[in-house]
């Protein structure tokens, strides 16, 4: 009988092979996922040697009324309006270029792609999707103006000295 010479492989054998194939592929998948997590964590620095987000902008009296002062290194404006002091981000909300105050036009303009903003950060025109954000500002114990660049606040919150 042919069946006696070549018995069909038992279901148990097939299952064992399939089991080990699945075990192997499963282990490889877990290892691949682990490698991806490892790579992501390795590529994300845990400690950054970047400048502090908090800026000491100095004595309020050094900013005359109706003045807009750009701090190039920290990328913020210190603005002394009639209502009081406030700080605007000087980084364009389009693609991150440093904007500039145009005293003769009374506007903030971006040199890269032509976005224009009002003195209070409102967008006038250009590709920028959002107004320039207001940054948290306060006066410290020494009477110096402080700005936290990492914290946006709602507009029109003036600091009066």
């Amino acid at each position: 009988m042919a069946d006696e010479k070549h018995p069909p492989e038992s279901a148990a054998d097939l299952n064992r092979r399939a089991f080990f194939v699945k075990l192997g592929l499963g282990s490889l998948s877990i290892a691949a996922a682990g490698t991806a997590v490892f790579a992501y964590q390795f590529l994300s620095p845990n400690v950054l040697y970047e400048p502090s987000p908090t800026i000491n902008a100095g004595n309020p009296e050094s900013y005359p009324v109706d003045s807009v002062t750009l701090d190039v290194n920290s990328g913020i404006y210190i603005i002394h309006a009639k209502e009081g002091f406030f700080s605007l981000s000087a980084v364009c909300t389009h693609l991150g270029c440093l904007t500039a105050w145009k005293p003769d036009l009374g506007i903030i303009a971006c040199p890269c792609h032509g976005s224009r903003f009002q003195q209070n950060g409102q967008k006038i025109e250009g590709p920028a999707p959002k107004p320039l954000p207001w940054k948290r500002m306060w006066v410290n114990d020494d009477g110096d103006l402080m700005v936290d660049r990492s914290t946006d606040i709602r507009p029109l919150q003036f600091v009066r000295v």
Partner: protein
């Protein structure tokens, strides 16, 4: 009778050392010439036989070969520039200026690297236009077109990463703008931006990452895909010939023949 140069060369090819390196040995039979191609690690990527008209200038304008030429120039000049360039914030700009004004032939090498980079981008596009308008991208060569698109992207990324390395104002703002474009990707944008720069702004980590990408990761990836690209030419039936071209060539040959009479 004095030996000719060819005979000296044949003697050289018959020596034991030569035969240990190049297995095909002497002889000019079709078999020997095929073996000379097949048994060389570089040449075996290419077809052993090619039709004469397919290696004529008109068939391809040699645009792919010229692209490879600029790539080789970029690898050689780039390695030489690496000997004087430190990818660190205090030194990068000064090193670029030193290469221009202090290092012997530094200006020549830096300019050769820059102009070859421009030429390579131009040649890649020209090569792709030529392939496209001849219809050489069609089956069975469609996968090699995909490899070509990957090589185009690698070429552009090499240009982009190299742009930061002089560490001047142009470089800084170009990479600021470019990396902010990456953060426009939905959901993952800010993470990509952070991983690309190794921080929140273009700074020391960004310079080092772009340097490693520019000098190691991207060139090695490019070489990997270039090898596949060449090998696929052979596997997809050799250099492409448009079906109408033999007739065109015969007509042109006949016209030349008439002028000669």
């Amino acid at each position: 009778m004095a030996k000719t140069v060819t005979q000296y060369f044949d003697d050289l090819r018959d020596t034991r050392v030569w035969r240990s390196i190049f297995r095909s040995g002497t002889g000019t039979s079709t078999l020997h010439r095929s073996l000379a191609i097949q048994q060389n690690v570089f040449l075996h990527l290419f077809s052993t036989k090619v039709r004469r008209r397919m290696v004529s200038v008109g068939a391809t304008w040699y645009l792919g070969t010229l692209t490879l030429g600029t790539f080789l120039i970029l690898v050689i000049t780039g390695i030489l520039l690496m000997l004087y360039y430190h990818p660190s914030v205090p030194q990068a700009y000064a090193d670029a200026k030193d290469l221009q004004f202090v290092v012997s032939s530094g200006l020549f090498l830096r300019n050769l690297h820059r102009w070859s980079a421009h030429a390579m981008v131009f040649l890649v596009f020209a090569h792709m236009f030529k392939v496209f308008y001849r219809g050489a991208y069609r089956p069975p060569r469609e996968f090699n077109w995909v490899i070509g698109v990957i090589l185009l992207l690698i070429t552009l990324l090499l240009s982009y990463t190299g742009y930061l390395l002089p560490w001047d104002q142009l470089a800084f703002w170009a990479i600021t703008v470019g990396s902010n474009i990456a953060s426009a990707v939905p959901l993952l944008g800010n993470r990509i931006h952070f991983l690309l720069l190794g921080g929140n702004s273009v700074n020391a980590n960004a310079l080092l990452r772009f340097y490693v990408l520019h000098c190691m990761i991207l060139p090695l990836t490019a070489i990997f895909f270039i090898a596949i690209h060449f090998w696929r030419i052979r596997k997809d039936g050799g250099l492409y010939a448009h079906p109408s071209e033999p007739a065109t060539l015969r007509a042109r040959a006949a016209a030349v023949g008439k002028e000669a009479q």
